[in-house]
């Protein structure tokens, strides 16, 4: 535990990676760590797919006349971008990769409660991906990731039914993972690991899992109804068959608003870990941060109507949704203030993960504040469905969730694979990502207020300058994301051996080997202290370390 200096041993003993090399030992593995690695590879592939679509969208928008692609193609591309990123990266990203790897280790367990279910959920995820790619190959879909009816259920010509089945199936993967986490966290904590000794990463995953379990079934039903209407003309959403077109939006957002917290809460858990580890301090206001996750999870179920202020829902319904939306902003603000306070009088080491954590705080703050713009109805009437909304959710999802994902991946990379990534490369890519991100998305706030609607293939010429700026930023951002995709795999072979605890951080995951053995711990750990129990005057000793 106290070994701050890495063991120079060349190759650690048997671990979960080298225990067996046969392909069967991977595809049939029920080891949560191997499954996490499989998710990581799959998701990295999906980032490349979704990212390529994003680049195409931005290239097209460099000129106001849609001159590169046909409108139909353009619409299919932004739809695939949204579907791939939301369902196959943003939602599963942190929980399925980092959560899968770390939840059992952090609480001192051998594995998740249901290892086979965990493997099943991976394969369900894979089937979802394959069906989505099949839908893309067979002509694609052009409904937008939101699948609004009656366009999706009656008018669109694409492979909507197939894509709907794909998303439906993928939902079960989330549900199984969520279920696994809830049971694991309830039942498998090591002796002494009480609720209030849990790392905040665990609290965040717990809150997220509850949201997943309660909301995902709703979107599953909704999607089935769309498919039924499309295939058999059952009148649910299309008024031609006696349906209600707005009903879909209620059902969709009842899931999809909580889903935005499915994306961000685990990321917030990551940030709590990073800030604490690199400030050598307990997270300021630990219980408040833990409960704010639960508050967000609960309140988040009652704000879906803020996506529908201009659909003609009653004036007073709008008022109620708006006031609850204001409430949900508060726990987000509380978290930010607690993270900042954690840094106060800490001993701060600006490693790559810490650079990402700080970038997260800045970008999430902007994202959260612009959420208030959109939650206040008088303004949202103007902003709704413009680029302001696009900028807002990219600040929270890309600036927030994705930044945290990179931070967490760098932080736990030595634990997962036993090797250090190149530190300076990491800092450079964090800087490129931060600059590229702001350059891409800040101009979109201005475009949105000017009135540029989202999902527009053509746009008026006076907006070209801002759009070109955004496209240039996207190029830089793309480069920033590619760098780690190159140097992280490189480090698997050429990185320095990390040792158990290269950051001298607290937490059960740092007490086991890097990479851990198949059952994580040689003997069941006994927890005797709270999370982040750094001593008074704790210091980093970067000069003594491998980095």
């Amino acid at each position: 535990m106290s070994s701050t200096v890495a063991t120079p041993a060349a190759e650690p003993r048997t671990n979960y990676l080298n225990v067996d090399y046969g392909w069967k030992s991977w595809v049939f593995s029920t080891d949560h760590k191997r499954i996490a690695v499989m998710y990581l590879i799959t998701i990295a592939f999906m980032i490349l797919v979704g990212g390529s679509f994003a680049i195409l969208v931005r290239l097209e928008l460099a000129t106001p006349a849609g001159d590169m692609l046909q409108s139909e193609t353009y619409n299919k591309i932004f739809t695939m971008h949204g579907v791939v990123m939301v369902f196959f990266f943003l939602i599963p990203g942190v929980p399925a990769v980092l959560g899968n790897f770390l939840v059992p280790i952090m609480i001192g367990a051998k594995d998740l409660a249901f290892p086979k279910v965990n493997l099943l959920s991976y394969y369900i995820f894979l089937v979802g991906i394959l069906l989505t790619l099949l839908a893309a190959a067979m002509g694609g879909i052009d409904t937008g990731w939101t699948f609004y009816t009656p366009y999706s259920s009656t008018y669109s010509n694409g492979q909507v039914a197939l894509a709907a089945v794909a998303v439906f199936i993928t939902g079960f993967s989330s549900i199984l993972t969520g279920l696994n986490f809830v049971v694991t966290i309830h039942k498998m904590r090591a002796p002494g690991m009480t609720w209030f000794r849990l790392p905040l990463f665990i609290w965040a995953h717990y809150a997220t899992s509850l949201i997943i379990l309660l909301s995902t079934p709703v979107v599953a039903i909704t999607i089935v109804l769309v498919a039924l209407e499309r295939l058999f003309h059952v009148g649910v959403f299309d008024p031609t068959y006696g349906g209600d077109p707005v009903l879909f939006q209620h059902m969709f957002w009842f899931y999809s608003h909580p889903a935005v917290y499915i994306m961000i809460l685990p990321a917030m858990g990551v940030i709590s870990e990073l800030i604490s580890a690199f400030s050598k301090k307990r997270v300021f206001g630990y219980p408040v941060v833990a409960f704010s996750s639960l508050a967000i999870a609960v309140i988040g179920f009652f704000v879906w109507g803020h996506h529908m202020f201009v659909t003609g829902q009653s004036t007073y319904a709008g008022v109620v949704f708006s006031v609850i939306t204001m409430l949900v902003a508060v726990p987000s603000a509380i978290k930010v203030f607690n993270w900042v306070s954690t840094m106060y009088k800490g001993d701060i080491w600006m490693t790559t993960p810490m650079c990402f954590a700080i970038a997260f705080i800045g970008l999430f703050t902007v994202g959260g504040l612009t959420g208030i713009f959109l939650g206040t109805m008088g303004l949202d009437i103007h902003m709704h469905d413009t680029y302001f909304v696009v900028a807002h959710f990219h600040y929270v999802m890309v600036g927030g969730m994705v930044t945290a994902f990179w931070g967490g991946l760098h932080f736990w990379w030595p634990k997962m694979f036993g090797r250090m990534y190149p530190e300076n490369m990491g800092r450079v890519s964090a800087a490129i990502i931060f600059i590229g991100f702001n350059m891409t998305f800040f101009p979109q706030f201005i475009l949105g207020y000017m009135g540029m609607p989202r999902r527009y293939h053509f746009y008026p010429e006076e907006w070209q300058v801002l759009n070109v700026l955004s496209t240039a930023g996207a190029t830089l951002l793309g480069l920033g994301y590619l760098l780690p995709m190159v140097y992280l795999p490189w480090s698997l072979k050429f990185g320095k051996v990390a040792g158990k605890n290269p950051w001298a951080a607290k937490g059960l995951e740092w007490e086991t080997d890097s990479p851990p053995t198949t059952f994580n711990f040689d003997k069941v750990p006994v927890v005797t202290e709270e999370a982040y129990a750094y001593p008074e005057g704790a210091r980093h000793q970067p000069e003594a370390k491998v980095v």
Binding site: G285, V323, I348, G362, G378, H382, Y456, Y459, P542
Partner: protein, 317 residues
């Protein structure tokens, strides 16, 4: 009023400045908090950076006072913003009593507009300055959204249900009109212009534009052509209710409930007559679904409405 600054679209309706002021306040608040957070993070990262011989971390577990402080302050701010924005919302969602009625039908991928005086336009909306105008809108296919950035207003245009929005233009000029709800392949070409004119110019334009018949007149003709008048004769022994003076009143239904005689009810009765039957009548009416387009239904509505408007020779409701 924000002319010199290129960060704002034209501001050309009675409430657009109010929206801009609110936006500006939010921008100021956001800059304040973003700069505050960024400054703290940067200062702490430098001031407390680890270095050989640094003092090390001081363990502070938390502070009830601070937690309460930064819960209450944001709460008060967002609640104040909520109240402010809700006032604007009520202005934008509540039309003045005597707004002029214009009809809008959206379909993939165009806007059809009809003036109260009968002129029809496509993808253009000419309006006079200083007159409150209400748009009654419906879609013939998917959901669209009528968006005029210079007025700071938009509203979804739904199939199967009327929605309305109102504005009063304050400044002559030509402004963008967009469809804001994604509606398929040519969504980004479902655009047009709103041309705001001084009153006199608007009168001239009306005179010059191929003035068709007013919607009422068209509706009256349709009423005969579609044989509505065979049952709704207006005589005591008629097989269908008489519409004079009925607009806006409560109508008793055969199942004992009642309904307000308004646009939505009329539209439903034309397309789905079996849904509701007026007390004292038998359900004999055929459906006109598939025979009458949304434009025609709007004309019929205008005609039925005129039957209850004393100014147009109708009976008092």
């Amino acid at each position: 009023m924000w002319k010199g600054i290129p960060l704002f679209p034209d501001s050309a309706s009675t409430y657009s400045d109010a929206v801009d002021y609110f936006y500006l306040a939010l921008v100021v608040i956001s800059i304040f908090f973003t700069v505050l957070v960024a400054a703290l993070v940067v200062v702490f990262a430098i001031r407390f950076r680890t270095r050989p011989g640094s003092a090390g971390a001081v363990q502070i577990h938390g502070s009830h006072g601070l937690e309460i402080f930064w819960t209450v302050v944001p709460l008060v701010i967002v609640m104040a913003l909520f109240v402010w924005s809700t006032k604007i919302w009520f202005v934008i969602t509540r039309p003045p009593a005597h707004a002029e009625q214009y009809y809008v039908t959206g379909k993939q991928w165009m806007w059809k507009i009809q003036h109260p005086t009968g002129q029809r336009e496509i993808n253009m909306l000419h309006v006079p300055v200083g007159v409150p105008i209400q748009l009654r809108m419906i879609s013939e296919d998917v959901i669209h959204s009528f968006f005029i950035p210079a007025f700071r207003v938009k509203r979804d245009v739904l199939p199967g249900r009327y929605s309305t929005m109102w504005f009063e233009a304050t400044k002559a000029g030509t402004y963008h009109l967009f469809c804001a709800e994604y509606c398929g392949t040519k969504h980004s070409q479902m655009i047009g212009s709103v041309i705001v004119m001084e009153q006199a110019d608007y009168e001239l334009w009306l005179a010059g534009a191929a003035a068709g018949e007013s919607p009422q007149a068209q509706g009256e003709k349709l009423f005969a052509a579609s044989r509505c008048d065979t049952c709704h004769t207006g005589k005591p022994d008629a097989r269908g209710p008489d519409f004079k003076g009925l607009w806006g009143t409560q109508v008793q239904l055969s199942d004992g409930s009642s309904v307000i005689f308004n646009e939505d009810y009329v539209r439903e009765s034309i397309l789905l007559p079996t849904a509701k039957t007026v007390a004292g009548f038998q359900q004999l009416m055929p459906t006109y679904a598939g025979q009458l387009g949304e434009d025609q239904i709007l004309s019929l509505i205008a005609y039925l409405k005129s039957l209850s408007d004393p100014a147009q020779g109708g009976a008092k409701p």
